[in-house]
Amino acid sequence: MASKQAVDRRDEDEVCPVCKSSRYLNPNMRFLINPECYHKMCESCVDRIFSSGPSNCPVAGCRKTLRKNRFRAQTFEDIGVEREVDIRRRVMHILNRREEEFDTKRNYDDFLEQREEMIANLVSRIDVAKTEAQLKQYALENEQSIRANQALEEQEATSFQARMTLEQEEAQRRRQIARQEYENERRELQAGREDFLTRLAAGTSADAGTIAREGSKVHLKKSSARRSEEERIRQKQAALRGSETKRGGASTPAAAGPADSGLIKGLRKIKTPEPEKPYDPFMGFVPEKRDYFTLQESYPSSFLERQRQNQMASAGGYDLREYYSRTLLEAFAGLGVFVGDEVSKRDAEKVSPPAATEGAAMVAGNEK
């Protein structure tokens, strides 16, 4: 039994499950997988089946439509692990809230737990449709913050790399400087001694004390100058590092508000704007953004022809574009507002926690 299994496993590695060609005949054979279904097949099968466009997975019982460009080499030996890693990567790409975006550590931990649960659900195929829908909605509603956090992550990754390289270079430079310094010192010491000796040899004995003192003074001066030079460099480097971290701090995510769907709880409500942020004349409002239509410069309308021709109106500044913009906005304003749902929710909210107004109204009512 045991031996048979072993043979099987080797077969798996050695024989393409689709075309059955074996590594024995084709030693360069590479296996590829597609994250759609994770069925393994050899490179030549992929070329053969999918080159002319998307097609169904050839593995019996699997009818998933696969695209060639999604095939890739397997990273992990276990296909289950491979799939989990893929799912994890995808979910973490969307649910990429950062610790600093949460009110409390507790909320952040809850978020992490929730994310793990969703990943686990997807991996073990529990509530897949529901989880996917949640993800999709979240992605839609938090597009901005997701993008901001992704950018931030990337930036951190690159700056981490940059810092590593920088540190290495610096260490190397420091070592070199130290070596150089030692060398210089040694040379100067030697030169000084030689000078001292020649002067001693040339001068009178009375001068000997002065000369000796002088020599050591020069030596001192030089090394202190060197020390202050070193200090200056060090300070400069520290300042550079400091400004770098500051810059990193300034670009902390401009969190696009808490998620509408309420998937994630405990997000920091208001992000205090960084004082360094550049002045936004619109103060966060997005001008002229529309979701249901794209405003055109002009629309065909025979009704408006006379207005267009009206010279007095146009000289007065009357602008039909204002009318277009208004009619189109009004055509769609509230299209997705479901009064029935929203109003009953609104009324319900007003009842349950007696809000300030409600409380006052109640009191006022009872006083009568």
Partner: protein
């Protein structure tokens, strides 16, 4: 969607949007309060006919019906009664030269409808409120004319003071929100955009960027034929435009559409009734996918859907509900059964008017001395001779319910029939 967020800031959404249930219970409680007051007041005047109010009950009421409980209007009856005056308002607009704009009339009608959500026609007679509502609409809709000129055009030529007397009361009933979001301008926008598509100048919807002017035009030209054949796509759009506009002027005004739906949903529902395939095409260019599934739209509610799919599903339900509401409307005047019912209600209303309510409307106007005309109006008891009555009855039968009756001293049909 940003357009929806914008709509949510409007007072129409914040203050004047209801569910069917909340609308119903609001009307019921308005009715209950008013009925209680009517009973209290009428009983009191009856107990002391020579009271200082100076409005003794008509003789017939005092002798025969003393012990009878006072029969008040039901909320449904109130609604029909108010609707009659809304329809009259529509006609009243034609009395002006030039006729008052459609949106202005619609504003006045909505004022009247909003006012009677928290006020009962038993307390304030709609015929007194309606002219004021129309005048207020001329002010809020920037179609200003002097009160004098305005009053002169009203059949029966009420005095300017009479017209303006309930203004404050009306504004209070409107909770001091004067802006009404109508569906008319939105319809124009939709039609302009459809025309642009027909001419190959369509622009892709932001959420569906793959659309091109060509693909949009092609799709438009390949939709199912209209209910009535048309010579060209322009012609078809034009017809749908007119049909929709007509519905918006009438059905949308006389039903609860404004309370239950948003202006864009209202015009699209009316559009759906005018040219279903064209409307469905238009919605698909906006939201993708088939908007109104051919099969039952009941999808499994347990699994959350793609937001766009969810939006489409909800919208299709709302649009078909709203369409049904609009379609179910027939003008009172065109339906003998409804006229009969209205007459019955008017007769009943005559007996359960709150005389105090009318007085109150005058007290509010204390700055101006009550004119003789309004004094006559305030008490239901007027000494009309039998001949006058007969004359009025004849006149009435001749014109059925011409605009002249609207602001004549009384709502004549009921009074004459009542005796």
């Amino acid at each position: 969607m940003i357009e929806d967020t914008i709509y949510r800031t409007s007072s129409q959404y914040r203050v004047w949007s209801y569910t069917e249930e909340s609308l119903q219970s609001l009307r019921a409680s308005t009715n209950t309060i008013a009925s209680d007051r009517v009973r209290v007041t009428l009983r009191r005047t009856r107990d002391a006919p020579q009271s200082a109010t100076g409005t003794p009950q008509p003789g017939s009421d005092v002798d025969s019906k003393e012990e009878k409980p006072i029969d008040c209007l039901t909320p449904e009856e109130e609604l029909v009664f108010v609707r009659y005056y809304c329809e009259s308002l529509l006609e009243l607009g034609d009395e002006y030269k030039p006729p008052l704009p459609t949106t202005l009339r619609a504003t006045a009608i909505q004022y009247l409808r909003r006012f009677y959500l928290t006020n009962s026609p038993m307390t304030y007679h709609p015929k007194k409120i309606m002219a004021c509502a129309l005048f207020l609409a001329t002010k809020t809709d920037n179609y200003y004319m002097s009160l004098q000129k305005f009053s002169e055009a009203i059949p029966g030529s009420p005095s300017a003071e009479e017209v303006i007397a309930p203004e404050f009361l009306l504004m209070q009933g409107l909770r001091f929100t004067f802006d009404i979001r109508h569906p008319f301008r939105g319809l124009e926008g939709g039609i302009m955009e459809l025309s642009a598509i027909a001419e190959g100048q369509g622009q892709p919807t932001p959420i569906l960027p793959h659309q091109t002017a060509q693909s949009l035009k092609q799709a438009l030209l390949s939709i199912a034929p209209p209910p009535t054949p048309s010579s060209s796509i322009t012609d078809r759009i034009g017809r749908a435009h007119n049909g929709t506009r007509e519905l918006l002027k009438t059905a949308a005004q006389m039903t609860d559409a404004y309370f239950l739906y948003t202006p864009s949903q209202i015009w699209l529902s009316a559009f759906l009734l005018s040219d279903r395939p064209l409307c469905e095409f238009y919605l698909e260019t906006k939201l993708g996918g088939p908007i109104i599934p051919s099969t039952n739209s009941d999808s499994d509610p347990s699994t959350p859907l793609d937001p766009l799919v969810e939006l489409r599903t909800k919208l299709s339900k709302v649009l078909s509900d709203c369409s049904a509401l609009l379609q179910g409307y027939t003008p009172l005047s065109s339906d003998p059964a409804q006229i009969k019912n209205l007459k019955r209600i008017a007769k009943k209303h005559y007996k359960c008017q709150n005389p105090e309510g009318l007085n109150m409307a005058q007290k509010r106007d204390s700055a101006q001395p009550p004119t003789s005309a309004s004094a006559t109006d305030s008490g239901p008891a007027t000494s009309e001779s039998e001949t006058e009555r007969l004359a009025k009855k004849r006149k009435l039968e001749e014109q059925k319910r011409g605009a002249q009756d609207l602001f004549g001293g009384e709502l004549v049909p009921d009074r004459t029939k009542g005796q």
